[in-house]
Symmetry: C2
Subunit: 291 residues, 2 copies
């Protein structure tokens, strides 16, 4: 048996900076007190979701891996508490800007950095203005508590990303995210759609999924987004085993036996029966095989 | 608006042959009376699920496309009723045997044949004994009522298959299937897992999914399988809009506006934002890129 307790956290922005990092730290400490060993904070938790509008001055929110304050602070907390912490941050490296995730191991060392591969674009979610599509490819990280696959928000909509992390041996999939209503289409509620896609990844790959979403309302000029929370943990069959409401700041936990799940995954046979010889169209945008 | 009504049917085997084809015809006629234009029958409905045991004599159940009785009979019914009918059958072509699906258009002509790509193997589901893995690749069919993607049973567990059909423009995904309990592991109930994976395909690709499963108990020598029915139709967000119980023989229908779904799919942006440059590992079994 190799039991691991994971946590999803959920919080609202305090406007950014230390107030946000303080709130995130409080949630991490609360999760650790509940026994969590891998604790997920939401996407870009250091700031308001600045992608609501296209403003050149928000480029100043980006930092290098070495200088980012959240990575520095939460590396020390990870070592103190003995927990794994994927930290979402706005990364600048030379002239490039990315929506990145630094995975910090339970001894406080940096396992590596993943850069969000799929970048959305739409009213209220102008991420293509702020971030280049990531160049790292999909990543798994060998941590003190297992091999984890981490991707970021919009990545969670793509079965390809989940599958590649699973193929590389991910035992858990973690997605920090920031999603809510649509400023120009208030009737659209994607909450259930969002959960169903990720539950599908869990079920298809027989890997538990942890999703940590922002909550609260953030105003930017002439409109606002209310993030819908609803952070959740799904088991290896895609069943939701813990879920938050839309408004609360909270910690969810679940415990998984990674060895038992591995046995279940092998017994089910889907990784044995894949047909890579028939998947070439996946390498195209339009379903035509490019030679 | 381009509204299409689809139907999933669910039945038990009468032991095979004309009794099975009669029962299937009754369900097709009932579905057509309810307005269905695309009607899905379950996997290998002409026979008991013969893959429970490995018996060489069951190879005699295979036919060529030209000689299969179900294809002949349901082609006439399709033309009479003006309905599209994907027909699952045990195909023999020269020395090869496949688990195949003949898609019959609403005028009774054959759109084409798909051969099941992913072949399961386990106690009670000895399909690798009877079928070679299909060589057609994933198929979409232009029918009188839209472009449909069809795959068979175990294929429904693979996000790659659903994605390729969606990339090729499938507006609906249809899966005939035969799944139930596990003779050697009676405690295992994969019903919810099975539904969640396919709901995930619908949600990730923004394409409705229709699944038609067998029901009833079939005895083969020293054991039996009880097929769990639970046929369902999910909408383009993965929400279940119609679902059968485990035991009933029945018809489910749902109506979709394929133009409205197409607009929703484009607005959501996932097909715009895919990263084929990062998906090469999908062409491997083990997540290592093969050059």
């Amino acid at each position: 048996m190799r039991k691991v307790t994971v946590a999803a956290t959920q919080m609202r922005s305090r406007g950014g900076g230390d107030a946000n990092r303080d709130a995130a730290e409080a949630l991490v400490r609360a999760a650790a007190e509940q026994g969590a060993q891998i604790i997920l904070l939401q996407e870009l938790f250091e700031n308001n979701y600045f992608c609501q509008k296209q403003k050149p001055e928000y480029y100043a929110l980006a930092d290098t891996v070495e200088e980012n304050q959240a990575i520095q602070r939460f590396s020390a907390i990870a070592a103190e508490l003995g927990v794994v912490l994927p930290i979402s941050f706005y990364e600048m490296r030379n002239r490039a800007h990315y929506n990145s995730l630094a995975v910090i191991d339970a001894d406080g060392t940096l396992c590596g950095v993943y850069r969000k591969s799929h970048i959305p674009d739409g009213a209220g979610y102008s991420e293509k203005y702020y971030f280049s599509p990531g160049d790292t490819g999909f990543q798994v990280f060998d941590t003190a508590y297992g091999r984890i696959g981490c991707a970021v928000c919009w990545d969670q909509w793509f079965p390809e990303a989940a599958r590649i992390m699973a193929l590389r041996g991910a035992e858990l999939l973690l997605y920090p995210t920031a999603i809510g209503d649509e400023p120009l289409n208030p009737a659209l509620d994607s909450r259930d759609h969002w959960q169903t896609v990720m539950r599908g990844h869990a079920a298809a790959n027989l890997v538990p999924v942890v999703a940590s979403n922002r909550t609260g309302t953030e105003v930017e000029d002439d409109w606002q987004i209310t993030f819908y929370g609803s952070s959740f943990i799904a088991d290896e069959h895609g069943a939701v085993v813990a879920v938050a409401d839309r408004e609360s700041e909270c910690v969810l936990t679940a415990t998984f036996d990674l060895d038992a799940i591995d046995a279940t995954r092998n017994a089910w046979g889907v990784f044995r029966d894949r047909r890579p010889d028939l998947y070439r169209e996946l390498l195209s945008l339009d379903g035509e095989t490019a030679e």
